[in-house]
C-alpha cells in the first residue's frame, strides 16, 4: 500500500482541511509536524516554491496548496465523494472554493492588524460573510446540500477560527442575528463526527493566537 504523509502545523486551518478529508475518506497517514519558525529540510525539499504547509507526500510525490491537495485526494480515493458528479454542479462548487480562498484571508487581516487597516479588513470580512450567507449557503444545511463537501471544508475556518479571531481581537464579525444561516451552518458543521473529533482545543488555540497577535502588533 502506498504511504501517505502530511506535513502540517497545529493549529493551521489549512492543515486541518486536509486532516478532515483524509479522515472522511478513511485514509491512513503519518503526520509530520513542522516548526514554521525553523523550517525543516523536508518542507524545503517538498515545497521549494512556497515553503508552506500543508504538503501531502504520496508515494514520494509532493502536492502543495490545501485545496489542490483535496482535489488530488478526491481523484485518487473517490470513496465518500466530496464533489458533485455533474460538471455544472462541480463548476459551482469550484467557484465557491475559489471565493473562499480569495476572500477568507480578510478574517486573518482583522487578526493581524489594528487601526485603519483593521477597519478595512472588518469591512471586507463582513462583505464576505454576507455573500457567503446569501449566495453560497442560502437555505441549505451545508454548502454541499444534505452532506458536507469540499466547499464546506474550504469554509471550515469559519467554524472555530473565526470565533478565535473575534475573541482575540474583540471584534464581532459574525453576529448570529445578522447571519442566522451561517451560525446554523457552524453549529451543524461542528457536529459532523469527523469534524467534531478533529478540531483544535479551543483554549489552547486561543492562547496560541493571542500570543501571536501580540507579537505581530508589537513588531510593527
Amino acid at each position: 500500500m502506498a504511504e501517505v504523509k502530511l506535513l502540517g502545523t497545529w493549529p493551521s486551518p489549512f492543515y486541518y482541511r486536509v486532516v478532515w478529508v483524509l479522515k472522511l475518506k478513511g485514509i491512513a497517514y503519518e503526520f509530520i509536524e513542522e516548526d514554521l519558525n525553523n523550517k525543516g529540510p523536508l518542507l524545503l525539499q517538498h515545497n521549494p516554491v512556497h515553503k508552506k504547509i500543508p504538503v501531502l507526500i504520496h508515494s514520494g510525490k509532493s502536492i502543495c496548496e490545501s485545496m489542490i491537495i483535496l482535489e488530488y485526494i478526491q481523484e485518487i480515493w473517490p470513496q465518500n465523494s466530496l464533489l458533485p458528479t455533474d460538471p455544472y454542479d462541480r463548476a459551482i462548487a469550484r467557484f465557491w472554493i475559489k471565493f473562499a480562498e480569495d476572500k477568507l484571508p480578510a478574517i486573518w487581516m482583522v487578526f493581524r492588524t489594528s487601526g485603519e487597516e483593521q477597519k478595512k479588513a472588518i469591512r471586507d470580512s463582513l462583505k464576505m460573510l454576507e455573500t457567503t450567507e446569501e449566495h453560497a449557503l442560502g437555505d441549505k444545511t451545508f454548502f454541499g446540500g444534505d452532506k458536507i463537501d469540499l466547499v464546506d471544508i474550504a469554509f471550515g475556518q469559519l467554524s472555530q477560527w473565526l470565533q478565535m479571531v473575534e475573541d482575540v481581537t474583540n471584534v464581532k464579525l459574525l453576529d448570529p442575528s445578522k447571519f442566522p444561516r451561517l451560525q446554523r451552518w457552524i453549529n451543524n458543521f461542528k457536529q459532523v463526527p469527523i469534524i467534531k473529533e478533529n478540531l483544535p482545543d479551543y483554549q489552547e488555540m486561543f492562547a496560541y493566537f493571542k500570543a501571536l497577535r501580540e507579537m505581530l502588533l508589537s513588531s510593527k
Binding site: 482535489e71 481523484e75 455544472y88 462541480r90 463548476a91 469550484r94 467557484f95
Partner: protein
C-alpha cells in the same frame, strides 16, 4: 445538438482571452459578447451577481464564472483535446503552477507599472524569481502540457503578452539569456493560429498597456 455557448468577455482581459483560446482549442462554436466594463450588460450582472466580472461562459443558459473554473468545466463537458493531464499527480502540478501564475506572478506584474526606482528594481527581481519557477517547469518539455498545449499553457499565455508589450514599453523583464526555454515556448505557441487569434491585436497594444497600468485587476478574473 441544441448546444448554445456564449462568452461574455472583454478584449483587454487576459482571463477572458484564456477562455476564448480554450474554446478555439476544443473547436466549440460560440457567440461572443464584448462587455463595456463601464456599462455592463444586464445579462452579465444576472450571470455573475457575486463579482460582476468577465469572463462568463454561458452554456445552455447556465453561467460559469472564474476563468480556471470555466476551463475545468469545459474539459469535463467537451472531452476532445483535453487540457488537463489524465494522471492525478500531473493534474495537481498543472493546477499548482496555474495558481502560482495567477496568485503570484500576475499581481507582481501588475505592481510593476506602479513602481519606480529601487522599488521597481526589487519588483523586477521578484518577477525574475517567479519566472525561474516557470522556466524550470519547461525543462525537457515542448509545452507546459508536455507534447501538446494544455491547461498550464493556456494560463501561461500571459508570458506571450509580457513579451509583446515589453517590446513596446522597452521594459525587458523577459530576457532570452535568462529564460531561454520560456522564449522557445513563446516562439512555439506563437506559430499556432488559435493563439494568435487570442492575442491583443497590434493596434490595441498601446491602449492595453495604459489600461493595465491604470486598473490592473478591477474587472476580470
Amino acid at each position: 445538438m441544441g448546444e448554445e455557448v456564449k462568452l461574455h468577455g472583454m478584449w483587454a482581459s487576459p482571463f477572458s482571452r484564456r477562455v476564448e483560446l480554450a474554446l478555439k482549442l476544443k473547436a466549440i462554436p460560440y457567440q461572443y459578447i464584448e462587455e463595456d466594463l463601464s456599462n455592463k450588460t444586464p445579462s452579465l450582472l444576472r450571470y455573475n451577481p457575486v463579482h460582476k466580472k468577465v469572463p462568463v461562459l454561458v452554456h445552455n443558459d447556465k453561467p460559469v464564472t472564474e476563468s480556471m473554473v470555466i476551463i475545468e468545466y469545459m474539459d469535463e463537458t467537451w472531452e476532445n483535446n483535453p487540457f488537463l493531464p489524465r494522471d492525478p499527480y500531473e493534474r495537481a502540478m498543472a493546477r499548482f503552477y496555474a495558481k502560482f501564475i495567477d496568485d503570484k506572478l500576475l499581481p507582481t506584474l501588475a505592481k510593476l507599472g506602479q513602481t519606480a526606482g529601487k522599488e521597481k528594481e526589487e519588483t523586477i527581481e521578484e518577477i525574475h524569481e517567479q519566472l525561474k519557477v516557470l522556466e524550470d517547469e519547461l525543462k525537457g518539455k515542448q509545452f507546459f502540457g508536455g507534447q501538446r498545449i494544455g491547461y498550464l499553457d493556456i494560463v501561461a499565455m500571459i508570458l506571450v503578452w509580457l513579451h509583446l508589450t515589453g517590446s513596446i514599453t522597452g521594459q525587458k523583464v523577459l530576457s532570452t539569456e535568462k529564460f531561454p526555454l520560456i522564449y522557445e515556448w513563446i516562439e512555439r505557441v506563437m506559430k499556432m493560429e488559435v493563439v494568435n487569434e487570442c492575442l491583443i491585436p497590434e493596434e490595441k497594444r498601446q491602449d492595453w498597456i495604459q489600461l493595465a497600468q491604470r486598473a490592473p485587476k478591477s474587472a476580470s478574473n
